[in-house]
Structures are given as structure tokens and as C-alpha cells.
């Protein structure tokens, strides 16, 4: 391949520039054509395909083709096609420009072979994705996008520091597997974790995604964290700390999601919950676990898309973002409800849906690694997502009605294109749940996976133990939700999250620091000013005082009634009028004597 060959990422980037430059009539067609062109390019790749260019004495590998990069490449490309169709009637050209650039950058990260290219496109991802939030054009979206870009740029700087140290110490720019035994790998690891929305760097996701545009939300929820998961698979498979980070992230997502009132923020927490499962799989690092993570990424992108498009459709129809606000509507939306239920069942790993065939692989790999506590906590997180999405999202978004207030009818109509994408994503959820072989065959370690896990419909669903266990978990979680949901108040509140550290604490610290500096400055200033004014007073009045002291005995002897201050004033005016040279000489002698005294010490 030559430099003139196009990687899928470059195709998207060119498409982005075209939507920015071309006339409006072309804009709607381009985002549909670009994924098709990218898909055609992907099908032409073989594992020997490479593309490298020299850069400042290093070789940049723009193309690395293997089963891992191809899995993510196909996934992002096919997903973008349907996500762009979803946005045809609701998104403007600027959204498409940003989205194409964002997905192009993500694909470039996926296919790159070196750290320099990875860093460049990593930052371009952050910069382009921020427009998908900003283009909501609300006050909240403006503030959220500001926080989003700052968090990602700080993450990018940490990554850059790690990369620079890594290249300096090893002399290689190649992006290969790393171990957490040096500062450079630690910094790179943190940079990846920030984008993956792992604890304690997760709050940017639940802060920014709910404020994005409707199409932006669908795209963001499926790209950023998955790209970071890819880099973690590539760089840090088998890193033990990821197991615990993943477990805590999965539980955290559930707990925060359950108390959230905003529809898309609640779904953002389900994205964080799913990231937790993937981190655990990467932390285990066995072939089965990595295959499970890849399968879960594929299935996750699809069912997330169903949920986010359903939520987007509901928001489009009602104009409301909160569960409590949706309760005033008379919602008779059978098709939208059906699609949302499929997405919710899928994320809940219900049999015959895609989640059932992917999440179970990660749980199986945890069992095989004999990690009891992480396994138990992941089971919590597993039925927790039933509560968060199947129970909370479906019930509050489609059924819950307030006992007070005027019930409104939905007057807006859904565009068929918006429903079309949701239908395709939902159909994919069901299809993959029934015939997962199509996914198992493209992901890494596919032969190993298919030797361990059944891949045919009959083989999967004739295994009654797994089926009954899943049904037990599902039914009893729903029953417990019905009985105990009264414990969860649903009010318009926000919840202090890790972002409190940079939104409040950092502000407090900066105010404290500025106040402290101000205090020190003022103290020194008043001290110096006081000292100087006293010195000026002393020099100003020293001769008057001296003459007064010299004359004092004679004045006492002469028994004249004197006013001391009046006399000093008189002396002072005489000195000012006639004795200015004496003041100078006196001051000079005084300073000289102090200087001599100091020298003698």
C-alpha cells in the first residue's frame, strides 16, 4: 500500500471536510456514502495490509490490520451508517461534520500502529466530539462541553507525557502491549482510563452525554469508551488492577443510575456499568475474557444504540428530558415501547437477545479465573442493570403517570428514518441473540471461544442451566423492584459525583490559594509601608528632636513655660527653611553608621 491508499479513518475525515465545504444538497447524501466507502475499504484489507510514513526520524504506522482492529473497524463503520440515517431529519450539517470527523479519528486510533498517530487522533476525537454536545445550543450543553473538553485535554496531556517518556526510554513509537511497571506506562494507562470512563474518571460521561444533541448522544455513547476499551485491550490486557476498577465501575453505574431522574443521564450510567464489565474482562486478560470483551463491545454498541435512539425519539416527541416530566404525557407508542423493551432486555442479558451471548462470556471467564468476590459483585451489577434499564427506564419513560396535573397528548410525529434505525438496531439485538456465530467468527480468539462456548442456536438454548439461572435473576430482580422501588425517591436533584473534585474542591482550593497569596502580599505591603513611613517620620523630625533635646536643660533652667509640640513645630519649620543640608548630612551619617555597624557584625 502507498500513502495514497485510504484508511477507513481518512475516508471519514475527507467526508467531514466535504460536508463542511459542499453545498447543502450534498450534505445529507455524504454521511450515508462515507460509511459504505469505508466498509468497502475494510473488506479489501488483509492481515498483511500496512501503511507507514516517515515522520521526524520515526516511522508512523497508519494501518495495523488484525482481528481486533477489524472487529472495531467493522463495528464503527456499520454503526455510523445507521446512526447517520437516524439523524437525517434532526441533525444539521455541522453535526454531521463533527460526527464524521469524530468517527474518522476513532477509526484512525483503532487502525494505528504507533503512539504518535494514536495521540494525534486521540486529541482530534476529543475536539470533534465536543461539537456534538455544543450543538445542542443550551446553557447546560455549553458548560458541559467546556468541562468535557477540559477533562479530555487533561487526559490527553497525561497520555502525551506517558508517550514522550515511553519513546524516550525505549526509542520505539510502536503501540504494543505494556506492563504497569514504569511512569510512562502508568501515565498512558491513566490517559486510556479517562476516556474509558472508569472510576474515578467517569463523571465526564454522565455530565456531557445527556446534554448532547439527539444524534450526538447515540454516537457518543457508542464510540469514545469503546475506543478506549480497544486501546486497553491492545496495551493492558491482563493488568490485575482493571478487575477491581471494573467491578467498582459496574456497581457505581447502577447505584447512581437508580437515583437519577434525567432519562439520558440514567442511560449514561448504564454505559458506565457496561464499561465496568469490559474492564474486568481486560483485567483477566485470558483469551476467553478478551473474546468476551470484544463480543460485549459489539453487542453493547448495538443495544446502546437501541436505548439511546428510543430515548432520543421520546425526547423528540415530548421535548422533556426527565422521567418526572414525562409522566404528564399520555404515551401510546407501542412500536417505540417494543423497541425500547428489546434494548432493555438485551442490556439485561435476557435470553434470545445479544446481551445474553456476550456478557455471559465475561462472567464465565471470571468464574474460570476463580475470582469469587469480583464475580459476586459483577452478578450484582448484572441484575442491577435489569433494575436500571428494564424496570426504571421502561416503566418511568412509558408507563408512569402522575396523579396530579393535566395529562398532555403527544402532538409531534416521529420521522420514519428515526424509527428505521431503531428497528434495525433492535433486529440486530435479536438476531445476535439467536445466531451469535457471526460475531464469534470475527472477534479475536474466535476458534478458542467457539471451542469453549456454544455458538449455534440449539446448543445455546438447550443448555437449560444457564437459561434457568438467567430467568431466576431476571424475574426476582423485577419482583424486588416492584416491592422495593419505594425506597428510591425520584426528585429533581443532582448527585455529588467525582466531578465535585474539579467543580467545587478545585475552585475552593484556588480561591483559598488566591486569598492566601493576597493575605501574604497585603501583610508584607503594610509592614514595608509602615516601616518606610516610620523611617520618613524619623528622618523628618530627627533634627527638630535633637535641637529640642539639646535645648531642654536650658529651657528648664530658664523656667519658661513651653509648649513642646509648638516648639518642635517651630524647630521643624526653621530646619525645613534653613537646615535642609543638615537633614541630608544627618541622614547620610545615620545610614553610614548603620552600615558600619552591620559590617562590623
Amino acid at each position: 500500500m502507498t500513502i495514497f491508499s485510504f484508511t477507513p479513518g481518512i475516508i471519514f475525515l475527507i467526508g467531514s471536510i466535504c460536508t463542511f465545504l459542499f453545498k447543502k444538497r450534498f450534505i445529507k447524501a455524504l454521511p450515508i456514502i462515507i460509511p459504505i466507502l469505508s466498509l468497502l475499504t475494510l473488506t479489501s484489507f488483509t492481515e498483511s495490509s500496512t501503511l507507514s510514513i516517515p515522520f521526524l526520524g520515526y516511522t508512523l504506522g497508519l494501518l495495523r490490520v488484525d482481528s481486533l482492529s477489524l472487529t472495531f473497524g467493522y463495528l464503527f463503520t456499520i454503526f455510523s451508517f445507521f446512526a447517520f440515517i437516524y439523524g437525517l431529519k434532526i441533525a444539521n450539517s455541522r453535526e454531521y461534520t463533527a460526527a464524521l470527523f469524530y468517527i474518522g479519528s476513532a477509526l484512525s486510533v483503532i487502525f494505528t500502529n504507533d503512539f504518535i498517530t494514536l495521540y494525534i487522533f486521540w486529541e482530534l476525537m476529543a475536539v470533534s466530539s465536543v461539537f456534538l454536545i455544543l450543538l445542542s445550543k443550551t446553557e447546560n450543553s455549553f458548560k458541559s462541553s467546556l468541562r468535557y473538553i477540559i477533562v479530555h485535554l487533561v487526559g490527553g496531556l497525561i497520555l502525551l507525557a506517558g508517550i514522550v517518556i515511553h519513546i524516550h526510554s525505549t526509542g520505539s513509537t510502536e503501540f504494543t502491549a505494556l506492563t504497569l511497571n514504569s511512569i510512562s506506562s502508568g501515565l498512558i494507562f491513566i490517559g486510556f482510563l479517562i476516556n474509558a470512563a472508569s472510576i474515578p474518571f467517569s463523571s465526564w460521561l454522565s455530565d456531557a452525554y445527556p446534554e448532547s444533541t439527539l444524534m450526538g448522544g447515540v454516537i457518543l455513547s457508542s464510540i469514545t469508551t469503546k475506543t478506549a476499551i480497544y486501546t486497553l485491550i491492545r496495551g493492558f490486557s491482563g493488568t490485575d488492577i482493571l478487575i477491581w476498577l471494573g467491578v467498582i465501575t459496574a456497581i457505581y453505574g447502577i447505584v447512581y443510575g437508580l437515583i437519577e431522574n434525567n432519562v439520558r443521564r440514567s442511560l449514561s450510567f448504564s454505559v458506565i456499568n457496561q464499561v465496568g464489565f469490559k474492564l474486568v474482562g481486560i483485567g483477566i486478560g485470558s483469551p476467553l475474557a478478551i473474546a468476551g470483551v470484544c463480543a460485549h463491545v459489539v453487542c453493547g454498541v448495538i443495544y446502546n444504540s437501541v436505548l439511546w435512539t428510543s430515548a432520543g425519539n421520546l425526547i423528540y416527541l415530548t421535548g422533556k428530558h426527565k422521567y418526572s416530566d414525562l409522566s404528564i404525557f399520555n404515551r401510546r407508542l407501542p412500536l417505540l415501547l417494543l423497541l425500547a423493551i428489546i434494548g432493555a432486555l438485551s442490556i439485561s442479558s435476557f435470553p434470545f437477545t445479544s446481551g445474553y451471548i456476550s456478557k455471559s462470556i465475561i462472567l464465565k471467564s471470571v468464574e474460570l479465573a476463580h475470582l469469587f468476590t469480583p464475580w459476586l459483585l459483577l452478578e450484582f451489577a448484572s441484575f442491577g442493570v435489569v433494575l436500571l434499564v428494564f424496570c426504571k427506564f421502561i416503566y418511568h419513560a412509558f408507563f408512569y403517570k402522575n396523579s396530579f396535573g393535566v395529562v398532555k397528548n403527544i402532538s409531534n410525529q416521529l420521522n420514519p428514518l428515526m424509527l428505521f434505525s431503531s428497528i434495525i438496531f433492535s433486529a440486530a439485538c435479536i438476531y445476535l441473540g439467536l445466531f451469535p456465530k457471526i460475531v464469534y467468527e470475527i472477534i479475536p480468539f474466535s476458534k478458542y471461544l467457539m471451542a469453549k462456548i456454544p455458538s449455534d442456536f440449539i446448543a445455546i438454548y438447550s443448555k437449560s442451566e444457564k437459561l434457568i439461572i438467567t430467568l431466576q435473576k431476571f424475574i426476582f430482580a423485577v419482583l424486588a423492584y416492584v416491592l422495593f422501588s419505594k425506597y428510591i425517591p425520584s426528585k429533581n436533584s443532582i448527585f455529588i459525583d467525582f466531578d465535585w473534585l474539579y467543580r467545587k474542591l478545585l475552585r475552593f482550593l484556588s480561591v483559598f490559594f488566591i486569598s492566601f497569596v493576597d493575605f501574604v502580599y497585603l501583610s508584607i505591603n503594610s509592614l514595608v509601608v509602615g516601616l518606610i513611613s516610620k523611617m520618613i517620620y524619623f528622618f523628618n523630625n530627627s533634627l527638630s528632636l535633637l535641637i529640642y533635646v539639646i535645648n531642654l536643660p536650658s529651657l528648664r533652667l530658664s523656667n519658661i513655660q513651653i509648649n513642646r509640640y509648638q516648639l518642635l513645630k517651630q524647630y521643624h519649620s526653621i530646619i525645613i527653611k534653613n537646615g535642609f543640608p543638615f537633614v541630608l548630612i544627618g541622614s547620610f551619617i545615620f545610614i553610614l553608621s548603620i552600615a558600619l555597624y552591620l559590617i562590623s557584625i
Binding site: V255, R332, H370, E379, F383, I468, L471, A480, V482, I494
Partner: protein, 83 residues
Amino acid sequence: MFNLSKKSLIRILVILGITVVLIDLVFLDRHSHFSSIGGLTAMDGITGFYAILSFFGTFILFKVAQFIYNILSASEDYYHDDF
């Protein structure tokens, strides 16, 4: 759309729950995945373990969420003047 009362829903779920636990008890030959570690960790081999885990786990999750709600909730303009 669905006129199902809470009581009816609970009844249906209890019946379904009992059915799957009975299937577990009668038809399945369950074993622990952690039997090699032994002790309490082998509890996943007990009949109806996942039903118990799911039911009481949900209760625990709700209590944790309620605790988080009580200590970490703030008014919507909490960050109003902040970054």
C-alpha cells in the same frame, strides 16, 4: 396500554419465580463454579441461589442508592456559580 395492577404484577412474578426455582430444584443438577476454593464461595451451587441473590441483592442496591441519595443529593443549582 397495559392495565395491570401492582398486586397482579406481583402475583404473576411470584408464580414465575416459584416456577423457575422449582425447575432448578427438580430438573437441574447444579454445582458450584467455585467448589475448588471451598467454604462459603461454593454457595453458588445451592438451588435457588440466583433467585435469593437477585432478590436480596436488589434490596441491598436500593438501600445503598437510598444512602447515596440521602448524603450526596444537592439542589439543581448546586454548581450554578461554578465551573
